[in-house]
């Protein structure tokens, strides 16, 4: 899949968050979105995931046939979309049936993230890091080409961070795209960096450079 964003601008509650944001991604590409707190990283991901209307600009997708952008992507953000009273397995099974394109079954996906034992535990019993890993397991139960990750390593231990890096490597090797808003290096080799400057601080400039 290809994704290109042209001159995107975002306004929330009348306040300009960012403007003139442009980038293009092809199969296997990754983009690390950086910037200070409140610069608009999560707003950019919300626009891409269809939950927020851009103020101006254009988002085009290619090589995905009839599918729309929202049907091609996975979102893992601060709000994990998990129901506390359902078990981890039930949550993942629901996501798989809702989103379609099944890949791994929930138990295998949880085992991949080292949470096989939590399959039959209600999510409310899990710790923050474990919940995050259940949410990340959703990336594996359905095959979708674009992963939107908002601070994916928040609350993760080092071992899980390594697993996540591995998963992103594998996804990109299969032609998938990753867009991650982050403050730290995620181990994304050869990823472009998009730095969002706050509109108030300076004229908005978008910097695309090699980010190792």
């Amino acid at each position: 899949m290809r994704l290109s964003v042209d001159n995107l601008a975002c306004r929330r509650s009348g306040r300009r968050i960012f403007a003139n944001l442009s980038f293009a991604l092809g199969p296997g590409d990754a983009l690390a979105v950086t910037g200070r707190n409140g610069a608009g990283k999560s707003s950019l991901l919300a626009i891409l995931s269809g939950r927020l209307r851009p103020d101006s600009g254009r988002i085009t997708v290619g090589d995905v046939g009839e599918a729309s952008l929202t049907e091609c992507l996975h979102v893992v953000g601060h709000r994990d979309g998990l129901k506390g009273s359902l078990t981890a397995g039930e949550n993942l099974l629901f996501a798989q049936r809702l989103l379609g394109a099944p890949r791994l079954d929930p138990r295998a996906a949880l085992e991949r993230l080292g949470l096989g034992h939590a399959h039959d535990l209600p999510v409310a019993y899990l710790s923050a890091g474990q919940r995050r890993r259940v949410a990340l397991a959703r990336l594996l139960v359905c095959a979708r080409p674009l992963w939107l990750l908002d601070e994916p390593t928040a609350a993760l231990d080092t071992a899980s961070q390594a697993v996540l890096a591995e998963l992103m490597e594998g996804h990109r090797a299969g032609g998938g795209l990753v867009i991650a808003a982050t403050h730290q290096s995620l181990g994304l080799a050869g990823a472009a960096e998009l730095r969002i400057e706050t509109a108030a601080a300076a004229p908005v400039a978008d910097v695309l450079e090699e980010w190792a």
């Binding site: 995931s49 049907e71 994990d80 009273s85 379609g100």
Partner: protein, 222 residues
């Protein structure tokens, strides 16, 4: 697509049945109102059986409001709504599935329990059957109208009061025709079928307008 909708309905039914879910909430509230009325009115059986259908309908409207504010808010808060936006089904159908699940856990139990609760307000057999039938035909309208308010207040904390103020006026036509149909069954000048047909029409209109309006409210929260 059907699979996704069935998954949504199954999930909401399962959530309603779990601890902290809204499963029996409205049914118990319904029972409380209906059980208290005879105590408040005193042992006048004629009066009770005359206003019985109205009490059952009033209780049903109020019981539908209980827990309605969580219909979309719970999913908005924990990010499940983002997941549903990414589903390969239009948001309208997502709303339809969620309202169907809401009706299955509130409206349907109320309609099924109405004959039993009718005993508490001294209804005779015909009136019991008629009230249950009108509730069966009318409660979907309450769920759909309520869904619009729930979608509008999804991102407001403590939106329950605004929700009630928004949707109660819209529920009044359903209440009027529901009660008049139930009363027409046990005598009166109007034939039973006329208000029942209007009630069914209100449900169909609410199903279309409510689904579209709720989806529009959810789609662009800002």
């Amino acid at each position: 697509m059907i699979r996704a909708l069935l998954a949504l309905i199954a999930r909401d039914l399962r959530l309603a049945g779990r601890v902290g879910g809204s499963g029996a909430l409205s049914l118990v509230f319904f029972l409380m109102i209906v059980a208290l009325v005879p105590f408040a009115l005193g042992p006048d059986l004629n009066l009770l059986s005359r206003i019985g259908p109205a009490i059952l309908w009033l209780a049903a409207v109020l019981a539908t409001l209980i827990g309605l504010d969580r219909l979309f808010q719970a999913d908005e808060e924990d990010g499940s709504l983002d997941l549903m936006t990414a589903a390969p089904v239009p948001l309208e159908l997502v709303v339809l599935a969620k309202v169907a699940a809401h009706w299955l856990t509130t409206g349907l139990p109320l309609a099924l329990a109405a004959p039993l609760f009718g005993l508490l307000v001294a209804l005779d057999g015909t009136a019991m059957g008629a009230t249950a039938l009108t509730l069966l035909a009318g409660t979907p309208a309450l769920s759909f109208i309520g869904a619009v308010g729930a979608a509008l207040t999804a991102s407001i904390r403590r939106g329950g009061l605004i929700l009630a103020v928004l949707v109660l006026p819209l529920m009044i036509p359903t209440l009027i025709f529901g009660v008049s149909a139930a009363q027409a069954a046990s005598g009166g000048t109007v034939p039973f079928l006329v208000p029942l047909a209007v009630l069914a029409a209100l449900t169909l209109i609410a199903a279309v307008v409510g689904t579209l309006a709720a989806a529009a409210a959810l789609r662009w929260p800002e």
